[in-house]
């Protein structure tokens, strides 16, 4: 609690003591009674009245200070001292609670996002000096000790360690880094000392990008927020006008109506007229939702996107890099006349001179060092494959075109993925299938999305039809469009956009590489693995820091919860206020009910909004 808040709290307590004393004191000494009430009022509400007067001179009439001052002074003038002071007292309690809650929520999110590095240890000659990360240049060598935050993006050149990426990704298991690995700013080095070469300036590094994104989040407002501010703009003046009419007309028109009774009702109106609870609880809910999401490694650029996500009907995925790892691996080995190991070994050797991704996958699957002495006469035939002599055998490895060219009969059945056919000494020796691997949690992600009432899950891919269909079937997707060129993806998304209901939204999930136009076209663009790609962070509305598609389901759950809380708050606060207004117009509700409709509702709505921040079980 800061000094300012403490001061206000003390004023409320002291004022309350005088108030209670005034109530308890003997009624016979009326002057003492009133004096105590007045002292209490001045202590509790003096600053409100002062502000009200000051604001009137600034040309701002209908503000809360003014309304509260009129309501409370009015109540005291018609002799209702306890009510008048109670209204002021509880109003102050509500205000205090509200500003404490807002401050706390601002702080808790700032803490969650406390990833700004304070300094960098830069090697200059033999010396290591501490400087501002802003002043470090690309190519500088930095030293990161255990427990320190990595200040800039770089590449490890010495040492190994475990790195805690939880602040960036929400992932609690530390990642191992060693020489040659990329390290990202904002993560914490856990145990070993690592030396790294800086690859990006501070302004361009991951930590700045994320901070920029988070700090500028929610500049775009959701419909609920827009509705509530608009509502507040009309609500207060209307209630004030009604209050004035209520005070003047009935005593003149209705027979036997007393002036003080109707003034009391009008003053009750004024107490209810403050729009505070509404206006603060809605942005607070969204802020909590966005903050909670960021703790899970999901960055949302605005509350409008969180809202749209909750209304999503169709989710369109890009295949490579999103549902699959985007890394090609040997999936199957089908030898003919040789052993599996032999086929893989000879093929890896034959392809070893090539730097094609397929060659790398083969080498990785083979797993042993390549002895260059065993290979000779390498001949690469572009668009076909390679022919090389390995251990004296003539090995031909490539596509069907190569087999046809060499007149080797080959397996003609369907293959899912890329097949490398192999001939040894002009005899067919079988084929190796290389394909992209599905991510561990992709199937779970699709299942969870279905459970979250997503009507359609669609996959787009540039890959061959059989590859696309196999992945789609494996993951349980509703639809797949394959063999698409990058431009076709936008077209397909537009086609799908026309299929959804009017209120429903379409989300596109991509890895940010080559799909920026699609990310922009969709109602909600979600980029995965945001740590790597700047383009993704720029183009997307929501960035998922990890590579896990299951986080999309988490994001949707968070968005639905946030929206539910926001609408609960809207309905509850407006509802209570209107009920109390009607009841007090008929003289049923007292000023105490009005205090509840103002302060009680604020406190309940704020507490409810706080739930949005809790995302542990989502």
């Amino acid at each position: 609690m800061c000094k300012h808040v403490k001061q206000r709290l003390w004023r409320i307590i002291i004022g309350a003591v005088f108030f209670i004393a005034a109530i308890l004191i003997d009624i016979n000494a009326e002057w003492l009674n009133i004096a105590l009430y007045l002292i209490s009022y001045i202590i509790v509400g003096g600053d409100i009245v002062k502000r009200a007067v000051r604001n009137i001179f600034r040309g701002k009439v209908f503000d809360e200070n003014f309304l509260m001052s009129i309501a409370t002074i009015g109540a005291m003038l018609i002799g209702e001292y306890p009510e008048g002071i109670a209204v002021m007292l509880f109003y102050q309690v509500g205000e205090l609670f509200q500003s404490y809650a807002v401050d706390k929520s601002r702080r808790s999110i700032a803490d969650a996002m406390d990833i700004r590095p304070d300094y960098a240890n830069v090697k200059r000659g033999d010396e290591v000096i501490k400087i501002d990360p802003d002043e470090v240049q690309i190519g500088d060598i930095i030293v990161i000790k255990p427990g320190e935050r990595i200040p800039l993006d770089g590449k490890v050149i010495e040492g190994n360690s475990m790195v805690d990426t939880s602040a960036l990704t929400g992932e609690s298991v530390p990642r191992e880094v060693e020489v040659g690995h990329e390290i990202l700013s904002g993560c914490i080095n856990v145990n070993g000392v690592i030396t790294a070469e800086v690859t990006k300036e501070y302004g361009e590094s991951t930590v700045s990008k994320i901070l920029d994104l988070v700090e500028n989040a929610s500049s775009k407002k959701s419909h609920s927020e827009q509705f509530i501010t608009k509502f507040a703009r009309y609500y207060t003046p209307i209630v004030v006008i009604l209050a004035v009419l209520l005070a003047i007309i009935p005593p003149l028109v209705v027979a036997g109506a007393t002036f003080s009774d109707w003034v009391y009702r009008a003053l009750t109106f004024l107490v209810v007229s403050c729009p505070c609870a509404l206006v603060v609880s809605i942005p607070l809910s969204f802020f909590g939702g966005i903050g909670g999401a960021s703790r899970k490694g999901i960055l949302v650029k605005g509350s409008n996107y969180l809202e749209a996500l909750a209304e999503t009907e169709i989710i369109v995925f890009d295949k490579t890099g999103t549902l699959t790892k985007g890394v090609f691996n040997v999936q199957e080995v089908h030898p003919e006349g040789v052993s599996k190991e032999e086929l893989l070994e000879l093929t890896s050797y034959a392809e070893s001179y090539s730097n094609h991704p397929i060659s790398n996958s083969l080498k990785q699957a083979y797993g042993k060092e390549i002895d260059n002495g065993r290979i000779s006469d390498v001949e690469e035939i572009s668009g076909h494959g390679v022919i090389a002599t390995v251990d004296g055998k003539k090995v031909a490895a490539g596509n069907i075109k190569l087999m046809k060219k060499l007149n080797i009969p080959y397996y003609e059945g369907e293959v899912v993925g890329t097949a490398v056919h192999v001939g040894i000494d002009n005899q067919y020796a079988g084929y190796i299938v290389i394909a992209d691997e599905v991510k561990e949690d992709s199937a779970r992600a699709i299942k969870e999305l279905k459970e979250a009432n997503i009507k359609q899950t669609v996959m787009l891919t540039g890959d061959a039809k059989n590859v696309g269909s196999k992945v789609a079937k494996q993951l349980g997707l509703d639809k797949v469009y394959s063999e698409l060129l990058p431009g076709d993806k936008v077209e397909k998304v537009e086609e799908l956009l026309s299929q959804k209901s009017k209120k429903g939204k379409l989300a596109f999930v991509g890895d940010g590489i080559n799909d920026a136009p699609v990310l922009a076209r969709a109602d909600v663009g979600i980029a995965m693995g945001g740590l790597g790609s700047d383009a993704a962070i720029e183009a997307a509305d929501i960035v998922i820091m990890t590579d896990e598609p299951s986080k999309i389901a988490t994001a949707i759950k968070i968005s639905k919860k946030t929206l539910k809380i926001a609408s609960q708050n809207t309905v509850f606060s407006i509802g209570i206020k209107i009920i109390v207004l009607i009841l007090s117009a008929f003289g049923i509700a007292t000023m105490w009910a009005a205090i509840f409709a103002d302060v009680g509702v604020t406190i309940i709505a704020v507490l409810n909004a706080f739930r949005a921040l809790n995302v542990k079980n989502l």
Partner: protein, 73 residues
């Protein structure tokens, strides 16, 4: 051009909405948003009118929330 300001001490959500509404009506402002939770004011407006817009915005902030200080972010 876009300019960002911090509204230090912004403590009232309704006032934030009122400030946003008023700044949006200023001449040359394309879009202005006040984010109550992050205490930020972002103004997008015509380049040559920006100094005037900034001055007017400052007055608006003072009028609705006298205890709030507008600073360049």
């Amino acid at each position: 051009m876009k300019k960002k300001f911090i509204l230090k001490g912004l403590d009232c959500a309704d006032c934030a909405a009122k400030i946003e509404h008023a700044v949006n009506k200023l001449d040359g402002v394309k879009e202005a948003t006040v984010n109550f939770m992050t205490q930020k004011l972002v103004i997008e407006g015509e380049d040559d009118k920006m100094p005037a817009i900034t001055q007017e915005a400052e007055k608006i902030v003072k009028r609705f929330e006298p205890d709030t200080v507008m600073k360049k972010a």
